[in-house]
Symmetry: C2
Subunit: 340 residues, 2 copies
């Protein structure tokens, strides 16, 4: 088909954390034409979501998006567990019946739903596009290349954005770099990677090992999108499987300084010192590894305030701190250059 012209369905959730897939896709892809969300219709994403930094109109329904010429509908919310709000099924059917491809980032397999079976060639169940075949063999731990994993203090704390921004910065500077998405958002942005949360748990480490070893053949820097958090009640297993399968020698710790408790759980986040220490220890069981920097997220904070926090944190933790979306990644990539 011609190039994609994407419409994203966020129906009521555009401004919430549940729409983080939509936010990431809008920020990093250049072919999003419309967001479908009655709660903000008539608005523009540039104003509604400064993080995205793109002119994308918000429309009230699928028909308006079709009038704007979309040829692919992305289901753009990713609530914990990935269930699909029942009322969305009609919109999806309407899109498929109009010949629009549907890309789905949720845990549900749309192509296997009875009512969508006849459209299954036009459905892309993102999370199920990769099926691993092998458990891990510890191969990544033996690599001589740099594997840089992002680890975070919670879900949605900037792990994908950090890895992707660092990768793009390295590329721009002519370094041999690759980025491996491990979630549906990164996969959809890059047309690459796999969704580790949808892999059978025995194969988590084996799947990322495969991707990392493949990427390391032609690159000096392999950035791996981390998932969840090592202290998270629901997702810590995925975080550790990803860590031990990818066997990083460098970790960047992604932290949202505006958050003191887990986003979906009423639970305090331990201190950064403690998290960094246990992160290095656990990673060290596979390959000697250091948390080389902290990547800061602080939605809504002014540049001056962010720079002040960076200064304080660098003193406190003794490692470089950067805010990819505010101060950029160049200062940190200067340090990575020494690992070339």
């Amino acid at each position: 088909m011609d190039g994609k012209r994407i419409g994203i369905l966020t129906e009521g959730e555009l401004l919430t954390l549940k729409a983080k897939m939509a936010h990431g896709v809008m920020r990093y892809r250049k072919d999003v034409e419309a967001v479908i969300d009655k709660s903000c219709s008539g608005g523009n994403v540039r104003k509604l979501l400064p993080y995205v930094n793109k002119n994308i109109p918000v429309v009230a329904d699928l028909q308006e998006a079709i009038e704007l010429g979309i040829n692919e509908l992305l289901i753009g919310v990713a609530p914990p567990g990935g269930g699909l709000p029942p009322q969305w099924m009609n919109i999806i059917e309407e899109a498929l019946a109009s010949g629009i491809r549907v890309a789905n980032g949720l845990h549900i397999r749309l192509a296997e739903e009875e009512r969508f079976k006849k459209y299954k060639n036009n459905i892309f169940d993102i999370r199920y596009s990769y099926v691993p075949k092998e458990v891990a063999h510890g191969r990544a731990a033996k690599l001589k290349k740099n594997v840089i994993l992002t680890v975070g203090s919670d879900c949605a704390s900037g792990k994908m954005t950090t890895a992707l921004e660092l990768h793009q910065c390295c590329k721009k500077r002519g370094m041999k770099s690759d980025f491996i998405p491990t979630g549906q958002t990164g996969m959809y942005i890059m047309d690459n990677g796999f969704a580790i949360d949808t892999v059978l748990s025995d194969f988590m480490a084996g799947a990322i090992e495969d991707f990392v070893c493949e990427a390391a053949i032609r690159n000096d820097f392999v950035f791996v999108e981390g998932q969840g958090s090592l202290i998270h009640p629901a997702y810590s297993g995925v975080s550790l499987g990803l860590m031990h399968g990818s066997a990083p020698n460098i970790i960047v710790f992604a932290h949202d300084i505006t958050r003191e408790r887990l986003a979906y759980f009423d639970k305090a986040i331990p201190t950064l010192e403690e998290q960094i220490e246990i992160t290095e220890r656990l990673a060290g069981y596979q390959r000697s590894c250091k948390v080389l920097g902290i990547s800061l997220f602080a939605a809504g904070m002014e540049r001056n305030a962010v720079e002040e926090v960076i200064c304080e944190m660098e003193c406190k933790y003794g490692i470089p701190v950067f805010a990819p979306l505010v101060t950029g990644c160049d200062r940190f990539v200067d340090i990575l250059e020494d690992y070339r």
Copy 2:
């Protein structure tokens, strides 16, 4: 159907670690009638595998097992990753064609293999018998009951045996106890539980949380079979998902003292002190938790030698050490009684 009369196919692997499912099933079930394994045919399990401690004849092929009256064939090897040796397919077909039910503990779904589809009602794909629906909500961490998880220094280091022996000992003493298997062996022994390694990784913690909360309603002690090891290159993610989903307040550390390196990986096992410390720390993120004892495995060691090691280890680590299969569990359950 009438009671099971089980034949176990181990074909050449009866005496290896790959047949650990067969070993566990033979030890704990009372209805295994034959093992099919040419490499030891004519022998008896009591002599070949002291751990099992049962009179079970080893026969050369399926026909001999059928003559002994089996009505269920268990695929009794569980190699890493769970693939099925191709040459076994014919034996399975022969069994199904003879009206014998086939129970399969491997990752492959036999019921979905083209050649077995017509027999699918007679196939039990053990690992796929439970489908979780929810991610974890941190519910287990709020329980007031005792949740006892076994954590180990490697695969096949006695985690299932320890949990099961402790549970049986508690039952015998009239304590309200349940045991939740999390692997195919325990599931097949108990007709309960689920295979955590075959759950989509996002649902690992949610699945065990469900089982634990359900079991805690009617019991004071819920024993959870641990999996893998927190330092394992391939399975650490499963271990941590299980730990954080079940949120134990008590951990028993299962350790095979004859092993200094991981069974399937050329990798040293860290010291017990270190493993116990990191185990308590990681568990503590969900619920205050203590490693209350060490469960010792030492295949082939004499009772006297085991008792000597126990004595040394109790001095060294300052916590109770017991060898479930040598010295029994009573001394350790005495301590658990205080938690009633």
